[in-house]
Symmetry: C2
Subunit: 765 residues, 2 copies
Amino acid sequence: MKTTTPIDVELGPGGIMRKLSSILPPLTPRIVKARLKSTTHVSSKYESLDYDVWVNDLLIKEEQCRSYRQIIEINTLRWFLYFLVGVLTGLVAVFIDWSISFLLTNQMQFLVNNMFQCGQILCIISTYLLWYGSFMISTLIGAFLVVFIEPGAAGSGIPYIISYLNGISIPKFTTMKVLIVKIIGVILIAVAGLASGKEGPFIHIGSIIGAIMTSILKCTRIPALCDKISLINTKQEKRDLMAAGCAAGISAAFGSPVGATLMALEEGTSFWNVLLMRRIFFCAIVSTFTFNTILNLLHDNSGQHYSGLFYFGRFNDKTVTYYYAELPLFLIMGAIGGMFGALFVSCASKVAVFRMRYIKSRLWNFMDALFVAFLTATLSIVAMNLSHNCNDVKCESGYPEYTLQMSCSDGTYSEMSVYWLQGKESILRLMFHSSLDIFHTSTLLTFFVIFFVLFILTAGIKMPVGLFIPSLLIGATWGRLFGLVILQIFPDLPASTPAKYALIGAAAQLGGILRTTISLTVLVVEASGVLIFALPLMFTLFISKWVGDFFNEGIYEAQINVLGLPILPSDPLPLTSDIQAKNLMNTKVIVFPTVVSVSYLIEVLERVKHQGFPVVKETCETKRSACDFQTFGELRGFILRYQLMTLLITKSFTAPESSEDVQKMLAQFRKYEYSSIPVQELKFTEEEKQIAIDLKPYMNPSPYTVQMVMSFPRIFRLLRSLGLRHVIVIDNTNQVIGIITRKDLAKFKLGRHATSMFLKELRIR
Amino acid sequence: MKTTTPIDVELGPGGIMRKLSSILPPLTPRIVKARLKSTTHVSSKYESLDYDVWVNDLLIKEEQCRSYRQIIEINTLRWFLYFLVGVLTGLVAVFIDWSISFLLTNQMQFLVNNMFQCGQILCIISTYLLWYGSFMISTLIGAFLVVFIEPGAAGSGIPYIISYLNGISIPKFTTMKVLIVKIIGVILIAVAGLASGKEGPFIHIGSIIGAIMTSILKCTRIPALCDKISLINTKQEKRDLMAAGCAAGISAAFGSPVGATLMALEEGTSFWNVLLMRRIFFCAIVSTFTFNTILNLLHDNSGQHYSGLFYFGRFNDKTVTYYYAELPLFLIMGAIGGMFGALFVSCASKVAVFRMRYIKSRLWNFMDALFVAFLTATLSIVAMNLSHNCNDVKCESGYPEYTLQMSCSDGTYSEMSVYWLQGKESILRLMFHSSLDIFHTSTLLTFFVIFFVLFILTAGIKMPVGLFIPSLLIGATWGRLFGLVILQIFPDLPASTPAKYALIGAAAQLGGILRTTISLTVLVVEASGVLIFALPLMFTLFISKWVGDFFNEGIYEAQINVLGLPILPSDPLPLTSDIQAKNLMNTKVIVFPTVVSVSYLIEVLERVKHQGFPVVKETCETKRSACDFQTFGELRGFILRYQLMTLLITKSFTAPESSEDVQKMLAQFRKYEYSSIPVQELKFTEEEKQIAIDLKPYMNPSPYTVQMVMSFPRIFRLLRSLGLRHVIVIDNTNQVIGIITRKDLAKFKLGRHATSMFLKELRIR
């Protein structure tokens, strides 16, 4: 290893200096700085959530008045909350399901009855208008609602949920308004017939229900209930309820409580324990059960049916039998799924970056959605007119339900029309169950190409677009195609039907896009009801993930990167032990002495936007410490901005003494935790400004600290495992010398390029 | 709240003092001290594992020489290791399965052909001898092996695995010797026909394979491979491989990779992330796949069969149909399962305590096992002679395979004999699938009572006893009984068969004993292949857990408590914020200055058994700090006993300079990490003893520290989440004042008594 003279390395725009320790040889420059033009960055607009459990004297006093009886009551209430989240999510699923099937049935019926039944020019024009109208009107309303009323309802919302559960504060994305717009948007986009599914957004819907559950219950204004709820109305609780809501959403969408629980674990939650897993599972069961029960009552089916918003249907035995000899074929399909998945992620990211750069105004976003709807309508009608494959197959169950004759002879229908006239779920069921001859290879191929392009364009529009069903549909299409080819080559292969390959293809494609393995296996098994297929599905999904990962990351990770969300992975990056706290820390720390005057508090809070302040023994004069860093005094505790604000707002300048006063004070803190009153609006008399406040009763007397020589992996593990927002850096004598926040760690990313790996440092902007 | 004068509370025999902070009012005495006679305690004989990632200057230097290419190679090697664990576990499962079925078939054939075929006294005596022999001989060999050769192979091993994964060092429980004795023991106990299953111990077998995988590969002596392996041969890696092996074991046992992964998560692992979950899942798939493939080849079944060591068999459609109206029945069964489960746990714990107190010597342990075998043989033959229920039903598949005529007329067989002549798995399959009339209620009732008693006694003998199958069997028995009663009351209930209730009962009983919900649901669903039953199973298992938890804890938790393993739950105990670091910490800290003489090192290491020592700036004189605690100097780092020992053993008194020397030194540290050479055996010249060693390059310069006022929940979260072994307590100026280890936290337990809750402080002994 080369030893050169130590150099100072400017690490980033934050002005953070890297001083190399004298004991250590200088760093070999292994960190690649991301180019300025690069689209991946860490956005500075997202604040972190603090999942650390706050402790101060007041809270301890309050806790000492509590009994274990209250703990039991709170536990019971908690289970009740999870139960309610499950029930509500199930009910919303029923509503969405019913609305879509009602609107879609009527629309399709009307189209089938009125299209191409005539030869006159005027009639043909009206026919075309009808067709375009069916795509455009719903899109128009949906896009209007999302773009102009509530932009938070766009997309599937999953990247934001993952980020929230990871500890990033996402403003205005779990409100009642988002919920309502999202529900309407999901219905409209399904009716519009765009390349989108309703299952992805459903995860967001469930999460919102989880997040606002405590607020809903507070609205009941039952005093006993509200008292209890205020005790558990913490960030941690909201996070856990959101995770459960997320699982309830998936569970209702696919009728798979286990798969949903696993998906919440694999994709979503960053914080996890067994008890939470059980609660999430419970919530997911209740959601599926509610959905099933009501649907069975509505359809007068006297029990035993087991399904979600999207049930794959009952497979016949021939479809789900497989032989060991087929396993290589499944693995090949896994690889194809991985490649198509990586292609999709890559294209979708490019489109997303294009949209971020050039489609900025609301109007353009609105036009963008309309353009995609127009393109979908055009491509579909062109495809229907140009494709001359005709067919007369009807399954026992009456599928395909809606078809057009187009240029086909009487008694037959255009194969291509099948694709555009059913709901996406119906087409999928058709692909999974129908016999050999329902689609010709050319129909499948044409649809695959058109739909893939449409899917890439649709994925980023400002509507509640879901990725699950289109991915499955694309996979099922090439899977059937693959099956037909296999049957051409090996006509004697036993138990071979395109339906089976459609199922494997669908799973492989979805796996290639999402890059999940366990949860997706279980999800597909539960949704299809075919347990025997679990083993080949697992292998297929592993291959599809590995192949996909060779090219790029999964779609949600890609979306998170494009948005610049400062997410922290579960493990620290490798080979980063030589990056130390003193290289990472922010040295512009603002500290308070333990006793501080009101005027100084006001001044500081007006001047800086910091969310937390170390409390130190000395006054605020800074010194040079022995190690050449500026020190800010001996650490005594840590206090948050909202706590100081609450003190100022309520003018509580003396510490509460009696246990009643403590209760009142804590109630104030809880009340103003999320308020955003600016300091400027507070009025104080000159006398008040001279008062000195003792911060000791309010501050956390024992914040987590790190030594200035602590290595990156150890700081990372501390901050990530405990869900901290701030870590204070101290020197050898417990003097504050800096502060490290999430973004200081999140800006380091592991870059990968096929088989090579490197450490990237992203810009914060 | 009462305010009295502060008092000192002696917290435990460790001499730890609780000093109440002057700001705080005194504690209300909410902590209940466990009685001295109480059987629950925290054992002092178990050391903790350190899952913290060690960092020091040498390691940083080494890491700087590594490239990302190595990281990729290591990742690939890691997947390969998990693959090997899966394959090996699968192979062992095949071996055990084949051995048991070979031995059992021959033994049963012999018994059926030779028993009660004669009337003379001599012949009857020989018949009895045969019967007793069949139980006693295998038990004799098995118990001998376990008691006298390798006591580590006793029991299912699951409480120890849970503890190990939680971070407790369990000596001599993952060696090759344990593995071999366990495998033989499992085969023998199954052949002996005791109330035990082979599935539980299989988890231990898988774990051992995981734990010794790296050692096995090292034995190949391929240099390239061994180099790579030494890089990942860490405690964390071993822990993760063990978790994977555990899942592979369950997966092979029940043919359920998903259920196994979930069980490893729900029961086992305390440390978890998505990547690990995927690896565990991969390992579990490989294990099931290996097992299936080889078994299919052996049985000449050309593919598609999907099963584990214990497959529940294919259910007929009538069995697995259910109606909403039946749900209340399932919930009642869940409650019954919970109650019987709690009864079992309570009785088994009492028997375990009895055995700990009175059956201490090896010989008595051996006799104990023989006594249980004798009792099983006696009770079974008495039951067969006294029960006069006869039957002539034979299922299509030829079951029951082995029967005795006893006092029945020709062409019929004694129902009771069915129970004692099949393997436990065959009886279970019979219970799940056979038609109405195969067992009379009186037979079921008699068997239930006898088997329940035998199960309680068998659970604690010194052999590899598994709890899964006996639990399922007991549940299936009362489940069928329940089904027969239901059919008596509601003869017109559609789709009602005792087989269905047997399945629900089996799950409820196992759930009542283990108290797992998600994993057990998936396990039963995967083992039975009946996806449609997932929903009722989930509800049943939740009820069974809740009802069971009302009375006591699950069997593994109970076993852990009886053994006094200092396990840390995933969340800190409630209402403990007023317990602070200064109340918990051990004040008998031994510190070293950064530069220390060899003679002093030797002296200290001889005198104390501490495993870690803070390194401080000053010399070892102690002072009084401002806060009335003895301080030990300004913290500079932390060093482990084995590191000091390595320095002494290798006589490395100067810090390595060149990168080659660093490599050599690190190799030494890795070599001696697990060695146990006593200090006394080391020889030094007088000159050597005068040498001063600089500890800075070897120590961890930034150990995790806590302020003396940090509250219990925050310390707990730090230690538990990061898997630390030691946490150093510092005062306001970064002076060491104490040290907190796992046992200081683990001794606090939440006691529960029906609906009340309290905090217990256990004795450490």
